[in-house]
Every structure is written in structure tokens, then in C-alpha cells.
């Protein structure tokens, strides 16, 4: 493809590509997102390709492997358009039947349809599935319309037209005022107004300025950015080029986690295509703008999600943050003015420019505009990526989209915002997804991780889990975080191991507040959130550990004992074979018992027993 030299040329090519795709051919879309890859969607896609080719469907049925559709629980997913038939958990062995019956004859393969657990009935089309119905698809839904390797697919859905609009006469100030009017706030966790950052960086003195995309998605339980970067990399590039125009930068970096090899690959490929088409390089679309973007692979350090640490890492150094009284918009990468935004923030920019600020600010609440992609995981029926308008209640997300708890268990809490966030109890599920509301309640929307917890989750153990994580990930530069988090973990460990006292609860609160006030960077300042929020909303669980020496959820190993129920055990031997400590004895078809001296309380027997005969007390 030769370089697109002008805005008019882009318009013509875009229109041609859109027209070429609007024929009435059958389109089979296979989700190639992180979840579906794990369930071998590429085997399904390869089988489909083979079957379509060998049946001579070359022109009349097309196949497209896309980025994440969101409904990971149902992967591998195949959607057949134009009829919008949704097949879930498809195996390579199902492909022949799909092609023979659905593609050739327009019939439905009933057993591959989604069954709504609340009604027990199958659902024919994707748009009628409750998981998708309550969502506000704007950004994530683009994924299913394009092959991330295909620039043509992106151009066919209006790709790079926002950039063309900007370059054909919008001044940098106009771009910034559009972003300001839209109310866009940073999606990476901080929720800082994007336009404020851009305006300050534009005003900063310096010949050379930079834009950075933070794709170092380090929050455990979050994979929204992976979903966009793997599924729709050009939207991010387009957002970055527009941002660069607005602030006056001509160099950009995408800092990606190396744990996401496919995201690295897709970002690199998209950049190379953008150079080839002339969206990067010199004299972009004949406008005189020069810009290039490079990919940098992160080294796997949570603290590098913090902007100053990330910039240190880009400079090839250890990722240690520095105090923020010197702003990165003035003195950032190489000490030059730098604008850093998260993947989802950048990816929202083109649609705001194309559809207008009012379209974006029409969604959401007073101070949180637009939509947010959430990673819905944990003890909930429907897991995956979901996109909702700000203001949607947590209840809608957990119960309507998520389908409620798993295996009939009662949902107890959601953890939002990763290690910087907190746990909110089920009684607060009417709260809206909103930057400020969740922050006021001791949690945060953060980057969008939403882990559902039920009666089998111990909230004290959750606090310990995050403290352990933060202790590992603390860079060690400042005392409040290095020592404070250590002490918090020590106290919580005491509580989970039966050595806790009620005075320690007060100490936890006091210490938590001190760390929050005095730590150097965002990691340290928010580190006490998980422990403070669980103390605030689940004091009875701390109390049970401390006063009664009991873990109500049966998780904290020092406080529980395993035994086998004499009535339920049928002596099948499954637990005996599974136990790594050889702590279980028993003859075939006879009651088995656990030798408590050998038992390490690892819980493996619990997962191996088919008759629920293992008792935890």
C-alpha cells in the first residue's frame, strides 16, 4: 500500500473499503481475545478456514479473527453475521456442523447457543444475551468489527478520520478544548482530567516533547488494556497522534508489559502499518506534521505504572518514582515536557473528536463522563471484559451482566481498583461506577479491575494478599511504604494466624493513615486502602479471627482444620491420590481419614472430592 498523501485520499479509500465490506456475505467472527486464546480459539479458527475453503465458500462467507469480545467465560466464541447468531464454547470438532448447517443451510446448531441460566432457555443472537444487553458498547465493541492485523478493517470503520479532522483545520487549542468539554478523565487509575494535562504540556517550554501510552497493566485482576491493545491497536495510535498534535510533540512511546507478548506484537505491527500508510512519519497526510511512535517493553514492576517510575524505566533505569512537585508535563522523559495517558484514555480520543464532546459527555455522571471498561472476574458466573457508562450501578454489573454468584453462593463484596483500591460490601452495590463516589467510600475505580468475592473469600486474607503484593512491589525508596507496608503485613499476618489482638486493629488504622499521608508516590499512598476498607466494612471478620480464633470463610490455614465427613465419604480414593502430603488414609470404598500431623491444609483434597465430604472448620 502506498503512503496516503492527503486527507481527501484517506476519505476516498475509507469509503471504498466500507463499501467493499457492506456486501451481504456471511461473516464469521472468531474472538481471539486473551480468554479465547487460552481456550484454543485459534484451533477453531484454523478448522473454520479449512472447512470454508474446502467447501468453496471463498467469496460468500468470510472469516475474521478479532480481538476480545468480552464474554471470556463462553470462549471460544464464534458469531455469525448478518444474523448475529452467537455460538459459545465452540470446539474444533463443532466446526464441520457449523459450516454444513448454519453457513450452508441457515440452520441453527442449538447445542452451541448460549443458555440463559435465569430462564434455562437458549438465546439465539448475541444482542439478546443478558451479559451484553446492559452494557454501553462504544470502545470495546469496536474490537469485534476488526482484525487487529488489518489496517483496512480499521479504515473501513472510519479509522484515522478523527486524525484527518484534526489535521484539516483544528488548532491544538481547539483539540484540547474538545477534550476538556468531553470531560475525559484518565482511565489508568488516577482519574486526572486529560485536557488539563494536555494544556499544561502544551504550555510547557521545550522544543522536544513526548507522548507516552502507559500499557504496563500491572494491577492483578485487570486486563482491559490488554483487550484494547491486542484488539484495536490503531485506535490507540490515532489517539496518541492527535494528542501529540495538541501538545506539540513528535515522538511517542508505548510502554507495554512484556507479560503480554501478543500485545507487544500487535502494537509493533500497527506502528509499522501506520508508517507504511503515512499516519506516522514525516508530513502526515500532507499536513506538515511529523511524528513517530516506538514500543518499549516493561520489565514487570508494578511501580512502573506510576508515571515518574515509568519514565525512569523508559530511560533504561531502575523504575523508581520521584516526588511529583516537579510535574512530568514540564519535566518528564529526559527531563522534557511529557504527556502520559493510559491505553483506554488514548483509545477514547478518536471517537470524541469524531462524534463531538457532547456525545461523550452525554454518557456518565456529573464528574465521570463516558464509559469504563471493567474486568469482571472472581466468584461471578459471567466473567470477562464489560463496558458500561459511568453511573451504572455495581449491582447491574455484578448481577445483571455478571449473572450473580457462582454455584449458588452468596456474593459478599467486590474489590475494585486493584492493590490501590478497596473492598465494598454487597450492601453498597447500588453505588454507581464513578471516580469520585467510589473514592469517597474508601475504594476507587482504578484501572477497572472488579473482582467479585463470596462467602468463601476471607476479607482479612484479601487484605493480607494485597499487602504481600505491595511489599513485593514496593521499590523501597521511601520509608513509609518500605517499612509501613511491612508492618501492616506483619500485623495482618498475626491476625490471620491467631495471634491478633484488638489493640492491633487500632494500630492498623493509625499506621494505614500515616502511610497514606506520607508515602512518596501513588503506590504507597494507596497501599493501605485494601486493609482500611476491609476493616471499615468487614470488622466482624477481623473480630472473628481475633476473639474467636476462627476464619469464617475457612481460608486462613492456621485457624482451620480439615476432616472428612463419615456419612458423605464413599471411599472413592480421589482425595487420597490428590493429597501431596500423603496425609489421607483409607481403604477402597471405606471411610477415609486425615492425619492432622501430616496435613498442611493446602485445600487440594477439597477440590478433588466429588461428594463434598471434606469439611473445613
Amino acid at each position: 500500500m502506498p503512503k496516503i498523501a492527503s486527507i481527501d485520499e484517506l476519505k476516498t479509500i475509507g469509503e471504498q473499503l466500507t463499501a467493499a465490506r457492506s456486501d451481504d456475505a456471511i461473516l464469521m467472527t472468531v474472538c481471539g481475545g486473551p480468554g479465547c486464546q487460552a481456550t484454543r480459539c485459534h484451533d477453531v479458527a484454523a478448522e473454520l478456514r479449512k472447512e470454508l475453503d474446502s467447501n468453496g465458500f471463498n467469496g460468500s462467507a468470510r472469516l475474521r479473527v478479532t480481538g476480545c469480545h468480552g464474554f471470556c467465560e463462553q470462549g471460544p466464541i464464534v458469531v455469525i453475521d448478518p444474523s448475529n447468531i452467537f455460538y459459545g464454547q465452540v470446539k474444533p470438532a463443532d466446526v464441520k456442523e457449523i459450516v454444513d448447517r448454519t453457513v450452508r443451510n441457515g440452520e441453527v446448531v442449538e447445542r452451541l447457543l448460549y443458555t440463559d441460566p435465569s430462564t434455562g432457555k437458549t438465546v439465539l443472537t448475541e444482542d439478546k444475551i443478558p451479559f451484553y444487553k446492559a452494557q454501553t458498547p462504544t470502545l470495546l465493541s469496536q474490537n469485534r468489527r476488526l482484525d487487529p492485523w488489518s489496517m483496512e478493517d480499521y479504515l473501513a470503520i472510519g479509522g484515522y478520520t478523527a486524525l484527518a479532522k484534526v489535521l484539516s483545520g483544528m488548532s491544538p487549542e481547539e483539540v484540547i478544548s474538545q477534550i476538556k468539554a468531553s470531560g475525559l478523565r484518565g482511565r489508568g487509575g488516577g482519574g486526572f482530567p486529560t485536557a488539563t494535562k494536555w494544556a499544561a504540556c502544551r504550555a510547557a517550554h521545550g522544543e522536544e516533547k513526548y507522548v507516552i501510552c502507559n500499557a504496563d497493566e500491572g494491577d492483578p485482576g485487570a486486563f482491559m488494556d490488554r483487550g484494547i491493545l491486542e484488539g484495536n491497536p490503531h485506535a490507540i495510535l490515532e489517539g496518541m497522534i492527535i494528542g501529540a498534535w495538541a501538545i506539540g510533540a513528535n515522538k511517542g512511546y508505548i510502554y507495554v508489559r512484556n507479560e503480554y507478548p501478543l500485545a507487544v506484537e500487535h502494537a509493533k505491527e500497527a506502528i509499522s502499518q501506520a508508517r507504511e500508510y503515512g499516519f506516522l512519519g514525516e508530513d502526515i497526510l500532507g499536513s506538515g506534521m511529523n511524528m513517530d511512535i516506538q514500543v518499549a517493553r516493561g520489565g514487570g514492576a508494578f511501580v512502573c505504572g506510576e508515571s515518574t517510575a515509568l519514565m525512569a524505566s523508559l530511560e533504561g533505569k531502575v523504575g523508581e518514582p520521584r516526588p511529583k512537585d516537579v510535574h512530568t508535563v514540564e519535566h518528564g522523559l529526559w527531563n522534557r515536557p511529557t504527556t502520559l495517558n493510559n491505553v483506554e484514555t488514548w483509545a477514547n480520543v478518536p471517537a470524541i473528536i469524531n462524534n463531538g464532546a457532547a456525545w461523550f459527555s452525554g454518557m456518565g455522571t456529573d464528574n465521570s463522563k463516558g464509559t469504563k471498561i471493567l474486568a469482571l472476574t472472581g466468584e461471578v458466573k459471567n466473567t470477562g471484559l464489560v463496558e458500561v457508562a459511568f453511573g451504572t450501578s455495581l449491582r447491574t454489573v455484578v448481577e445483571q451482566i455478571g449473572g450473580g454468584g457462582r454455584d449458588g453462593r452468596t456474593t459478599k463484596a467486590v474489590q475494585t481498583g486493584g492493590p490501590s483500591g478497596g473492598c465494598l460490601p454487597a450492601s453498597m452495590f447500588d453505588l454507581p461506577v464513578d471516580f469520585d463516589v467510589l473514592w469517597e467510600k474508601g475504594s476507587m475505580i482504578g484501572s477497572g479491575g472488579l473482582v467479585v468475592m463470596d462467602e468463601k473469600t476471607c476479607m482479612v486474607d484479601v487484605a493480607k494478599y494485597f499487602l504481600k503484593f505491595l511489599q513485593d512491589e514496593s521499590c523501597g525508596k521511601c520509608v513509609p511504604c518500605r517499612i509501613g507496608v511491612d508492618r501492616l503485613l506483619e500485623i495482618v499476618t498475626d491476625i490471620t494466624e491467631g495471634r491478633g489482638s484488638s489493640e492491633q486493629v487500632e494500630l492498623l488504622k493509625e499506621l494505614g493513615e500515616t502511610v497514606a499521608e506520607t508515602a512518596l508516590c501513588g503506590l504507597g499512598k494507596t497501599a493501605p486502602n485494601p486493609v482500611l476498607s476491609t476493616l471499615r466494612y468487614f470488622p466482624e471478620e477481623y473480630e472473628a479471627h481475633i476473639s474467636e480464633g476462627r476464619c469464617p470463610a475457612g481460608v486462613c490455614t492456621e485457624l482451620i482444620e480439615y476432616s472428612i465427613d463419615a456419612v458423605t465419604c464413599n471411599g472413592c480414593g480421589a482425595c487420597l491420590k490428590a493429597c501431596p502430603s500423603e496425609a489421607i488414609q483409607g481403604r477402597k470404598n471405606k471411610l477415609h481419614t486425615i492425619n492432622l500431623e501430616l496435613c498442611t491444609k493446602c485445600g487440594i483434597c477439597l477440590t478433588s472430592c466429588n461428594d463434598n465430604a471434606i469439611v473445613v472448620q
Binding site: 467465560e73 497493566e217 494491577d219 492483578p220 507479560e259 531502575v318 485445600g603 478433588s608
Partner: protein
């Protein structure tokens, strides 16, 4: 080894800011960062060897010891933790008689954990040499390890 280091350093010599990128490539190519490789990188980029070591030690992406033929990566992200990552870690370490980040004596398996692999919807997840195994249970993990061992004994194993 030195020729592959030359290739990695090509076009990046005397550019200290390329340190992490270069180490990523060495890690990928060699499977770990040897003392010799770090010396060469230090010289090539003009970064003191102490700084190279500090960076290599700081980031979890780098290992200073060779890895086993099969690398078992156990995710301990929040979703995996809530859905039972701990029994999986116990199973793997117990079965292979190693500690975290250690390699079995026969050089066959390395067990490592990761803070989050980004496949949270199908937790708990285990990755064996880059292949994801979603919705893992201790029993499935044991079967997987035993299968690899059996294939190795029969000479049909492929890392």
C-alpha cells in the same frame, strides 16, 4: 553466544537508555542473563556493570539463573487468588520438590509465579512454556506435570 549478543547490541551501542530493551532480548534469546552477558552488555552500552546488575535484579522479567526445559508459571493475580491459586502453587512445588523460582535437579522444570497474566476471566490460570491452561485444578495440574514427565521418559517430549 557472543555472536548473538553482537546482533542484539547492533545499532544500540553506547546508548545507555537501551539497557532494558537489550536485556529483554538477551533474556529471550538465552533464557537468562549470565554474568558474561551482563559484562558484554555493560561494555557495549557504556553502562557500569553494577547498574546492569541492579536493573537485572529490579525487574521480574529477568532471571540470573538458567531455566528448566519446562517453565511452569502460576498466576497469583487477585482473580486467581480468589479462585484457588494457592493450592495450585502447593501442588506444583510439592510435586516437583522445589521452591518458587527454582529448577528441578534434572533441569526439567522451573516453577515460577507471576503477579497477573491477564487472563483473569478464566482463573486460576497456569502457563506451561507459553501455553495457557485455564480453569486449573490441582488434579489437572498434577496430570499435566505427570504427562510431561512421562513424555520426557519416553523421549517424546517437546519443550
Amino acid at each position: 553466544m557472543s555472536s548473538s549478543l553482537d546482533t542484539i547490541l547492533e545499532g544500540r551501542r553506547s546508548q545507555p537508555h537501551q539497557l532494558i530493551e537489550v536485556l529483554q532480548d538477551v533474556q529471550q534469546e538465552h533464557g537468562y542473563l549470565s554474568r558474561e552477558a551482563m559484562d558484554t552488555v555493560s561494555e557495549g552500552l557504556g553502562v557500569p556493570v553494577m547498574e546492569v546488575y541492579r536493573v537485572a535484579n529490579f525487574y521480574t522479567a529477568f532471571t540470573l539463573e538458567p531455566m528448566g526445559k519446562y517453565v511452569i508459571t502460576l498466576c497469583k493475580g487477585t482473580a486467581c487468588h480468589v479462585r484457588g491459586a494457592n493450592p495450585l502453587i502447593t501442588q506444583a512445588l510439592g510435586l516437583l520438590e522445589v521452591e518458587e523460582d527454582q529448577t528441578t535437579e534434572d533441569g526439567l522444570f522451573t516453577v515460577q509465579t507471576v503477579n497477573c497474566i491477564g487472563t483473569c476471566a478464566l482463573a486460576p490460570v497456569v502457563v506451561l512454556n507459553g501455553v495457557y491452561h485455564p480453569l486449573m485444578t490441582p488434579a489437572k495440574l498434577r496430570a499435566l506435570i505427570n504427562r510431561v514427565r512421562r513424555e520426557e521418559e519416553e523421549g517424546t517430549g517437546h519443550a
